[in-house]
């Protein structure tokens, strides 16, 4: 008879769900044996480097390749003219627009790709770039999105100027991309007219860049003999890349292999297809040799997927007790020169309509206008869950503004407006069905942990002494796990995901998923799931992702979708295996299937102690002794189309002290409570939270990529671009509650973007709170000491003596 201790041992031996087991991928990384794209070396490999425009808007009058081609070791210099016969000088974007691969008579942004040189090594390639002579005729530059729709604004996209849509509905001006509306405008306007109190707050969410430490790159290798194209690439969506490559090149998918090896951080930066990839592929096809393209940091910050750049106005209508009656939001979205940001097809502003947040809001209306400017293309990236960062920022800030106007405590106003536990699943007025949540418990837990009342008391005392201390509170709801195929597709492919699991005769396992880790620990967490589902130790479960020749089709990893979708596919596939295994076990023990029950790692005959078969024993039998009519083997594949998104949530609280003479902000405390439903590996979750909080800290406190009036991009190196070091980074405190998702096979929701989504408004909230007694309702990011000082200087707080 199994004792509790024996059962615990068997459970522990699995190192399955819930276990903070060490990561299986770590041994190679700590020994420098990771395999990143720039580590790939193929025989005969050449190097590509880009000639880029110094101008933000200009005609390309001529390109002289002579000197570059004359440099020994240079094999090719390609321009748009060379790509035209292949119809590859432009490529489709994920957002329904087109983007120039190499500038076609015109450049639309500074650093735009104008020509690619291919040489024996990266040193010669760099020299060759300097030798390409390009003549430009500068054109008037448009960098202010507020002026993009002026009647006399320069027309940026001559290539689409006669089109009345660029894939996202009708447009009203050559620089206009889309207008997206959701909600009932009339009902919302009425709510505002009838309201006892209304507030309105403008806020800008600056352009920032995820800046993983590994830049983007690829090695493209076209085998002339077999007609196969292999591309090693920094991609968070290798199957999507394969399909796109086929669509634009004509090479059948069966002859295209995309490999995302180890990736040095993605954060949404490595989803799209960049001109560097396309030109490397073309060069490889033309030259018949592998071609490597690795961008440097300035190129990375200047041209690859960045995030945000949303000019938002948030309005709330409420009664005098702070109960929200209506939410109205207007956004001007600066998309840069091409609409290339990653999004499911029908969502031009991503999931921004989650903007009702954690609150029970009866009427809401959102309008987003997207425009072109002479800047690099993008907008969706950086742990944003498709614009959820912007949405949560908007609602949390505006709610604080309402609280300040009414003199209601910022925690209390949230309590009064929370969706209540009994209201779940909750239909928001803008169309989302929040699966589960318990916002009150999370809030209470955090407030108790930090002694919120004590902090408010301390703040009062400090204010009396003229000291600046702020408390920021954010209670966010995230939406992740894109997504149900009826509403979510990327270029027409539904946003399901997949898992294929095979159990070997001796009981170890290989499993492949359509997602792709960039540091999230999938080799460990997926193994833990399979371990718990199949009763086999996660040590013996091999997880592979990223090779489109072997992994089942998936939409990749971004928007925290691996756990909601990929892990669901994994669990369902594993359960198919267990169902078959049950039949085999029944056959082996000569009982009916229904006589068996599953216990941790084995099938037991109900009521007959000692009659049992472990999954390991079943695995062996699967290859030699299966019931009549059943095929051999023990494997399954599942393509999981989620019925809904998942909605992790959290409560974050931040305490800051501000040096009123320099504007420096000291983050004294940051307490982050997250609820992501079932927790697969608590250690990995905590690591994700730390990382997301740090990236949020960077965004809130210092990151920006401003353009000057000429369209020159400023701050595009690590000299200026704020990546916090060990010294600047605060200490993080983490906590959790568990409210499982009712529709997910494991009850798990995904978590990795929550800390970024939730922390950014929390830093702003804390800093504004430090000044709120002086009437300040909002301060735009980044909260550099310079900008904070400007606020306190304007209030005369920095006078000595």
């Amino acid at each position: 008879m199994a004792t509790a201790a024996e059962e615990m041992n068997r459970q522990d031996a699995l190192q399955g769900i819930g276990c903070s087991r060490k990561r299986k991928e770590d041994p190679r990384f700590v020994q420098g044996k990771g395999n990143y794209v720039d580590d790939v070396k193929l025989p005969g490999m050449l190097f590509a480097d880009m000639v880029r425009s110094p101008y933000a808007h200009a005609r390309v009058k001529s390109i002289n390749k002579e000197k570059a081609l004359a440099l020994p070791g240079v094999h090719a210099v390609l321009t748009a003219d060379d790509l035209k016969p292949l119809n590859l000088h432009w490529m489709p974007t994920l957002a329904g627009d087109v983007q120039a691969v190499l500038a076609d008579e015109k450049v639309h942004m500074q650093y735009q790709e104008v020509a690619v040189v291919v040489a024996d090594d990266r040193y010669i390639a760099a020299d060759a770039v300097d030798l390409v002579e390009v003549e430009y005729e500068p054109l008037p530059v448009l960098v202010d999105p507020h002026k993009a729709l002026d009647p006399d604004a320069p027309i940026l996209r001559e290539d689409v100027q006669d089109k009345d849509t660029v894939g996202q509905g009708p447009r009203k001006h050559p620089n206009h991309i889309f207008t997206w509306e959701v909600g009932d405008e009339e009902a919302t306007d009425r709510a505002f007219e009838d309201a006892e109190v209304t507030v309105s707050q403008e806020m800008y969410y600056p352009r920032v860049h995820p800046s993983p430490l590994e830049t983007c790159g690829c090695v493209a290798s076209f085998d002339k003999v077999q007609g196969n194209l292999t591309v090693y690439i920094t991609s968070q969506a290798p199957h999507v890349v394969r399909t796109v490559v086929t669509l634009i090149s004509g090479i059948p998918e069966s002859k295209v292999r995309i490999i995302s090896p180890d990736i040095g951080g993605g954060f949404g930066n490595k989803v799209g297809v960049y001109p560097g990839y396309v030109t490397a592929i073309v060069a490889s096809i033309v030259l018949g040799r592998p071609v490597k393209w690795i961008e440097d940091r300035m190129e990375h910050l200047s041209t690859t997927a960045w995030a945000r750049d949303y000019w938002m106005t948030g309005e709330l209508a409420a009664d005098k007790d702070g109960r929200i009656k209506g939410l109205r939001v207007n956004v001007l979205a600066d998309h840069g020169a091409f609409n290339s940001h990653a999004q499911p097809t029908k969502w031009p502003a991503g999931f921004f309509s989650i903007v009702t947040g954690s609150y029970d809001i009866p009427d809401a209306y959102v309008k987003v206008d997207g425009v072109y400017t002479n800047k690099s293309p993008g907008g969706v990236a950086y742990r944003c869950s498709f614009r959820v960062t912007e949405a949560v920022y908007l609602i949390e800030r505006t709610l604080d503004v309402l609280a300040q106007k009414l003199g209601i405590d910022k925690a209390e106003i949230r309590r009064r407006n929370f969706v209540k536990p009994e209201q779940f699943p909750y239909q928001t007025v803008l169309g989302w069905e929040l699966d589960s949540g318990d916002y009150h418990t999370a809030l209470d837990k955090v407030l108790a942990a930090v002694d919120y009342d004590g902090l408010r008391k301390e703040q009062e005392e400090k204010r009396a002494r003229g000291e600046l201390m702020g408390i920021g509170l954010v209670t966010f709801t995230e939406v992740v796990g894109a997504g149900p195929s009826k509403s979510c597709d990327i270029l027409g492919v539904g946003m399901f995901d997949s898992a294929e699991i095979r159990v070997h005769p001796t009981g170890s396992v290989i499993a492949r998923m359509g997602t792709i880790t960039q540091g999230q620990g999938h080799e460990t967490t997926y193994a833990q799931i399979v371990a718990s589902e199949l009763g086999l130790s996660s040590e013996d479960i091999q997880i592979e992702e990223g090779d489109t020749d072997t992994a089942p089709y998936g939409l990749g990893t971004y928007g925290s979708r691996s756990t909601p979708v990929g892990a669901a596919a994994t669990a369902v596939a594993a359960r198919k295996i267990r169902a078959k295994a049950q039949k085999i076990a029944a056959h082996l023990m000569e009982v009916s299937e229904n006589d068996l029950e599953w216990d941790i790692d084995r099938f037991k005959v109900k009521g007959v102690p000692g009659q049992e078969k472990t999954m390991k024993e079943v695995a062996w039998a699967a290859y030699n002794n299966v019931p009549e009519g059943m095929e051999m083997g023990l494997e399954a594949v599942d393509y999981y189309d989620p019925p809904n998104f998942t909605y992790p949530f959290g409560t974050y609280l931040c305490v800051v002290d501000i040096d009123k003479f320099t504007g420096q902000v000291h983050v004294r405390r940051f307490y982050a409570l997250d609820d992501c439903g079932t927790r697969i590996n608590p250690m990995i979750i905590e690591g994700q939270i730390h990382g997301g909080l740090n990236e949020g800290f960077a965004v809130a406190m210092g990151q920006e990529l401003p353009y000057d009036e000429e369209g020159n991009l400023l701050g595009n190196t690590f000299m200026d671009y704020f990546i916090p070091t060990f010294v600047e980074t605060p200490h993080w405190e983490t906590d959790y509650t568990v409210t499982p998702s009712p529709h997910h096979p494991l009850g798990a929701k995904g978590v990795a973007e929550s800390p970024h989504v939730g922390s950014i408004p929390c830093f702003t909230a804390a800093i504004v709170d430090a000044f709120s007694h002086l009437g300040v309702t909002h301060m735009d990011m980044p909260h550099s000491s310079y900008r904070v000082w400007q606020q306190l200087h304007a209030l005369g707080l920095d006078k000595h003596g």
Binding site: A126, G715, E728, Y786, W789, G801
Partner: protein
């Protein structure tokens, strides 16, 4: 990321380095390399020749020589920090070195390179001014000494002539009754100063007998806030007097506007760093 081509020469001695400098036009000295090589990788600098002086032992070492400390120009920032002599006799240099760049860069970056490179963001020049340091310089015509005060003429323009090499920096031993302060406001580790101020002052009883206030990265080159010094010198320095000096510190600034801040912010921060450094120097002078 990739520098242009150049010819490389490893100098074996100071005289060898000077000879190489005069033999080659368009030559740059490779000291720590952490100002020069990044510029070359971005192709902002493309010298035809690099003269590596890392192998010259004569340029290393820190010695106490009576009332003077002699520091070889190729002494690295970490060597400054680790030096018992400096910790005891010129702690301002130690405090300043600790705030330069990051640990790896401090293993290569040298006091000499930082002192004469000419970038207004370099940390040591203002410290040299505050210490009233002397530079020992050798050229084809032999050796000379020049005071740090008056050495900094503009951006990338110093008193170092073509073909000359800085070999040694001499700073005075800090005496009893002298104190220093160093405050550097920066956006993050590894950044140049938004504003920094080294201060050295001496007290005679409660009266300030001498004071030098250096300012970093708030003008075309490192400067002294001389009008502020004149106000404080010969007085008992009170908080009220410091406040009177603050606008004079601001008036000594003429900063470039950049992402660190506009002119208004930088001048205010220069004054704030100076305030803090004066207070720190006072406390140390009294102890």
């Amino acid at each position: 990321m990739i520098p242009g081509e150049f010819e490389y020469h490893a100098a074996s001695s100071v005289d060898d380095a000077i000879q190489l400098l005069s033999a080659h036009e368009d030559a740059k000295i490779l000291a720590g390399g952490h100002s020069l090589l990044p510029m070359m990788k971005l192709r902002f600098a493309e010298p035809a020749h690099l003269i590596d002086i890392n192998g010259i032992s004569e340029l290393k070492g820190i010695q106490l020589d009576g009332d003077t400390i002699r520091i070889g120009a190729m002494t690295t920032e970490n060597e400054l920090i680790a030096s018992d002599i400096l910790q005891q006799h010129c702690p301002l240099l130690v405090d300043a070195a600790k705030l330069v760049a990051d640990p790896q860069v401090r293993n290569r970056g040298t006091i000499g390179g930082d002192a004469v490179h000419g970038d207004p963001g370099n940390d040591h020049p203002a410290v040299m001014l505050a210490l009233d340091a002397q530079f020992v310089i050798r050229g084809a015509d032999g050796e000379r000494t020049q005071a740090a005060n008056g050495f900094y003429l503009g951006t990338y323009w110093t008193g170092l002539e073509e073909g000359e090499l800085l070999t040694e920096i001499r700073v005075p031993v800090m005496k009893v009754g002298t104190g220093h302060g160093y405050n550097k406001l920066k956006r993050k580790t590894g950044d140049y100063a938004t504003a920094a101020s080294p201060v050295v002052l001496s007290l005679d009883g409660e009266v300030c007998s001498e004071i030098r206030i250096g300012l970093t990265n708030v003008a075309a080159m490192a400067v002294r806030a001389e009008a502020a010094e004149d106000l404080l010198r010969g007085q008992a320095i009170t908080e009220a007097l410091i406040e009177q000096a603050a606008p004079l510190v601001m008036a000594a600034c003429d900063p470039a506007e950049d992402l660190r801040g506009d002119a208004e912010y930088k001048t205010h921060m220069a004054a704030e760093m100076a305030r803090r450094s004066i207070r720190d120097a006072l406390a140390r002078a009294r102890s």
